[in-house]
């Protein structure tokens, strides 16, 4: 998806004057302190990234991303869509400017020289340059969405939740005072002094950029723009340069501005840091609910125009400062969401026993509206899981947040960016092909023997497990290598200022600053592999209907001439139906990769390294380079995603599905996404049943639920492909039928009923 204002090439002048100045600043300051060099670059980059106020904006700080900069993650869908970390260089975008017809030979040559410089100087390239031979062999490409491979590396520091509560409490001047008082410590070494004084400089820079806005807003009033619109923005900017936020509007303004300048995308416990000022303004009559919603809508619009992914807002949960205030602002946050009705923000609700019913009611209304948000979290179970897997106290665990598709992080205390992904089905595939990737026809992974040598099922399973262990060790080293490369090149000043311990320790984020330096590992195809093993064990080793060699040969040709075998494989037990055989296999496969991953933390000096089972579209892209699998899946089609059954393979109803899901040891991960597709009918006619369903799922230990109410488009797809929607029972009073026992025409008819 494209069209986000922040990335438009039209922001870039032919001369790329900002980029040339930025490159000069970088070169001139290389060899001085890392933090100083970064600050010098930010002094060029950030003022140029602060875009003018547009009609309808109620907050300043519209963000533009330029092709050179420092960010936790930068990506450009027009280049390759891949993440870039720290000092990034979007070469593709600079080339697009260079190739404009308006350029001269001379200007092109100058830009080409800049490109040559940044090709090796950007942090992604520097990380890749540090690959050892094994990493080069097993991670030859970063294009996980295009190329074939078992593992892929990502380069980013995403999803850290900055301490926006501290920002709101102290404001920029308060943060500056904190840094200055820390600088009085005479025992600091030169690097520490460089870091802290650069943080001080950064705060001044941010204040100066607000000053720029102050001037622009003043000029807008002078030009005749409506003072009722501009005036409050101008007053807010003035207040924020002088002190901490005094009202709800100030808090929104400051948080948006800071996050926009950081390029950070996750907002953490927004109900906590906005709650008190919201309640204060509402109680004093300074703010109406409508005004609050309008301000939030402006905040959401800026997010929408700035970013094409993420933007998670956390609400609810235990461990909040003033829960009543937080709940009050949560209602406004969701009301604005109901009005906004866009892909963003990603609302999330931590649900706990005894929580405010009005908040739950509004959350359900959003879901009923088909928004797929909020993502619901089982607060008590999540706290316990975080405590155990991240080895922190219960009190710290209570401050968990989550990002992206629901991966846990400790709010402003940990980083846990998922920087590696594994296609487990591909790991099985290369194991069955003697360490050869049958798509690329080159060595990939370990050669653990011929298929004939796997004369027992246990030998096959062990070989697969060794293969996964081999790749996971490489992935963990990659995670560490990215952190190290970032540390060697930047201080990540914007993040470091608002992450716990960095100022106190006088150390940048990934150079010993952050309290918990963790990592996460995205796994895909977990259920595909588990169901494949269930089928292989039954068909090859128990019933002996064919040999493993025969099966692999048939998978290699995508079942050509063997549709009957495919049907038999499809009828083998599948995860998602409360089947003890299929669920036990899923538990074996999942627990293995969970524990293998967790073991890597110590070796790589990470506070934790954990699997996340998430539900983005990577299962589709990775499936495009995966041959047919023994669960009956056709070649190059999607893999299973998150901790979910394969689409269409769960047909025993919701209770059975949830029992299967609950059998996965989710508490060993840093988050698992559970998708639940429900019909609108269920929400509108049976809200009590929906509530009972969610409460029961959470009682069963399921950590989170991503509930989507089927949209019209999805319902139409379901009517065309009912085989993919076997668990989507449309309820009709007194009607006895299992979806699976009806003809496709009737299945489509049942689905059609839910459109009304």
């Amino acid at each position: 998806m494209r069209g986000y204002l922040a990335w438009d090439d039209q922001h870039l002048d032919d001369g790329l004057s900002v980029e040339f100045r930025y490159t000069e600043a970088y070169k001139e300051n290389t060899g001085r302190g890392l933090a100083s060099r970064e600050l010098a670059c930010l002094r060029v980059a950030l003022p140029a990234a602060a875009a003018p106020v547009q009609d309808g904006d109620l907050l300043v700080g519209r963000r533009v991303f330029r092709p050179l900069g420092v960010a936790p993650s930068y990506w450009d869908d027009d280049t390759d869509g891949l993440d870039n970390v720290s000092f990034y260089a979007d070469i593709g975008r600079i080339e697009r400017v260079m190739n404009r017809p308006s350029q001269t030979g001379e200007s092109r040559a100058a830009i080409a020289r800049m490109i040559d410089f940044w090709k090796t100087e950007n942090v992604n390239a520097k990380a890749r340059a540090k690959f050892d031979e094994t990493m080069r062999r097993e991670m030859p490409s970063d294009l996980w969405n295009i190329d074939s491979g078992v593992i892929f590396g990502l380069y980013r520091l995403v999803f850290s939740q900055l301490d926006y509560d501290k920002l709101v409490r102290l404001g920029l001047p308060g943060l500056k005072n904190e840094v200055l008082s820390r600088l009085e410590d005479q025992s600091l070494d030169a690097d520490q002094r460089d870091f802290l004084s650069s943080l001080g400089g950064l705060i001044d820079l941010l204040s100066d950029i607000l000053g720029q806005y102050e001037e622009r807003l003043g000029a807008m009033i002078a030009e005749g723009k409506d003072p009722a619109w501009i005036g409050p923005m101008l007053d807010s900017v003035k207040r924020l340069r002088a002190g901490p936020p005094a009202c709800f509007r100030d808090a929104l303004q400051l948080v948006w501005f800071y996050s926009g300048m950081t390029g950070g995308r996750d907002f953490g416990r927004m109900d906590v840091y906005f709650g008190d000022l919201y309640a204060q303004d509402m109680d004093s009559g300074k703010l109406t609910e409508e005004e609050a919603v309008e301000l939030l809508l402006s905040f959401y619009r800026l997010m929408q125009d700035t970013d094409s992914r993420d933007g998670r807002i956390v609400m609810g949960g235990l461990g909040r400062r003033n829960p009543e205030n937080a709940d009050r602002v949560s209602l406004a946050i969701m009301q604005a969401g109901l009005r906004f009705r866009q892909l963003k923000p990603e609302f999330s609700l931590r649900m706990y026993k005894g929580m405010n019913e009005e908040v739950i009611h509004l959350a359900f209304r959003m879901l009923e509206d088909g928004m797929t948000y909020p993502l619901l979290f089982n607060d008590e179970a999540s706290t316990r899981a975080v405590e155990n897997t991240m080895h922190v106290s219960a009190e710290e665990a209570m401050q968990y947040g989550f990002f992206g598709c629901g991966e846990y992080v400790l709010g402003h205390r940990s980083i846990g960016t998922p920087n590696d992904i594994i296609n487990l089905a591909k790991a099985l595939e290369v194991t069955l092909h003697e360490g050869i990737d049958p798509i690329r026809h080159c060595p990939h992974g370990l050669n653990l023997g011929t298929v004939e040598s796997f004369d027992t099922f246990d030998k096959l399973l062990s070989a697969y497990e060794r293969q996964v262990e081999y790749f996971t060790e490489i992935a963990a080293r990659h995670q560490r290598l990215v952190y190290d490369t970032v540390s060697e090149n930047s201080a990540m000043l914007m993040m470091s200022l608002l992450m716990d311990d960095c100022v106190e320790r006088a150390k940048p984020l990934v150079s010993g600053g952050v309290r918990y330096m963790a990592g996460t590992y995205e796994t895909y195809g977990n259920t595909t592999v588990a169901d494949s093993f269930t089928a292989i064990r039954e068909m090859v080793y128990e019933k002996k209907l064919l040999t493993l060699r025969e099966l692999v040969d048939i998978l290699d040709v995508d079942f050509a001439g063997h549709e009957d075998l495919r049907q038999k494989l499809l009828r083998c037990p599948k995860f998602g139906n409360d089947d003890p055989v299929a669920d036990a296999m899923a538990k074996t496969v999942n627990t293995h990769v969970f524990e293998t991953t967790a073991r890597q933390a110590k070796a790589q000096g990470l506070s934790s390294y954990l699997v996340v089972m998430i539900n983005n579209g990577a299962n589709v892209d990775l499936g495009k380079n995966t041959l047919a699998t023994a669960d009956g899946r056709r070649a190059f089609t999607f893999l299973s995603n998150g901790n979910n059954p394969m689409a269409g393979q769960d047909h025993k109803g919701l209770p059975a599905l949830l029992r299967s899901i609950a059998s996965t040891r989710m508490e060993l991960t840093a988050g698992t996404a559970q998708n639940l597709k429900l019909t609108k009918d269920l929400f509108t006619k049976h809200p009590d049943a929906v509530r009972d369903l969610i409460d029961t799922a959470f009682d069963m230990g399921i950590l989170s639920l991503n509930i989507s109410v089927l949209s019209r488009v999805e319902m139409e797809d379901a009517m065309i492909h009912p085989e993919l929607h076997q668990n989507l029972f449309v309820r009709v009073g007194g009607f006895s039928a299992r979806f699976v026992n009806l003809d496709p025409g009737t299945q489509a008819d049942m689905l059609a009923r839910a459109l009304y």
């Binding site: 209770p655 029961t696 009073g733 007194g734 496709p744």
Partner: protein
Amino acid sequence: MQGIITDIIPFSVNDGPGIRTSVFFKGCPLRCQWCHNPETQEPGPQAMVLPSRCVHCGACAACPSGARGAHGEYDSSRCVGCGLCVARCPMEACRISGMAVTPEEVLAQIIPDRPFFRTRGGVTLTGGEPMFQPEFAVALSSLLRENGIHVVAETGGYAAWEHFAEILPFVNRFLFDWKITDPELHRRYTGADNLLIRDNLEKLCGSGADVVLRCPVIPGVNDNQAHFQGIASLTKTLPSIRQVDLLPYHALGNDKRAQLGLPGDGFSVPEEETVQRWREELQALCAVPVCL
């Protein structure tokens, strides 16, 4: 003791409060022409054949009771449910509807679903006609209640009163069908008049039972003022009726009729606007909520 059921379906949300597991009893004394569970009418096990899977190979033709033809033809009236065709079908197109179970076996199947019942849900006995197997229905209801499970019974009301009297203490709510008010029309479309049914309804209400009246509305059969007035009159004279459920005809039962080798029922599905109009008309007449 054993009963015969066709299925146990979890997460039923339209057959009583909360999340429920429905137990479908096999066998019914009525023959409603629009029946959407036709496989539950005959009391014994029967084969069902999914036409989309049948390749007419004839593997099932050697049927000892002569229910199966050489090319997939099927006459369910001759089927004795022996299951030979199921074993022989290479396409898994055949299955047997109807299994003998004890109340304890039903309970064992339901127990895993119990967490979902929470404070509202439970088990619904439906069918078919639960009261067609009164001893089994009573035994199952009492066992469920002993285990703290909320019990709803859906009934067509056509059974001896003594059976209702017996099950009454174990049922939290009845979903009582009221199909056609005119006794003669009732006989024409269901095979029996409604005098016994009305009598049982009045007695149940007189005993203080919690009753929801379930009214299937079939275009051309009972979508008329006289019947709507009849329903309304019941709600006014029998205060135990807490709600009327309007069940507009749907054609989903025809899929199962085809699986039983029966022709379609020939009724037509009402438009959504018609259904809404029925609800409004009925609500204007009734003393209790009318729900869809």
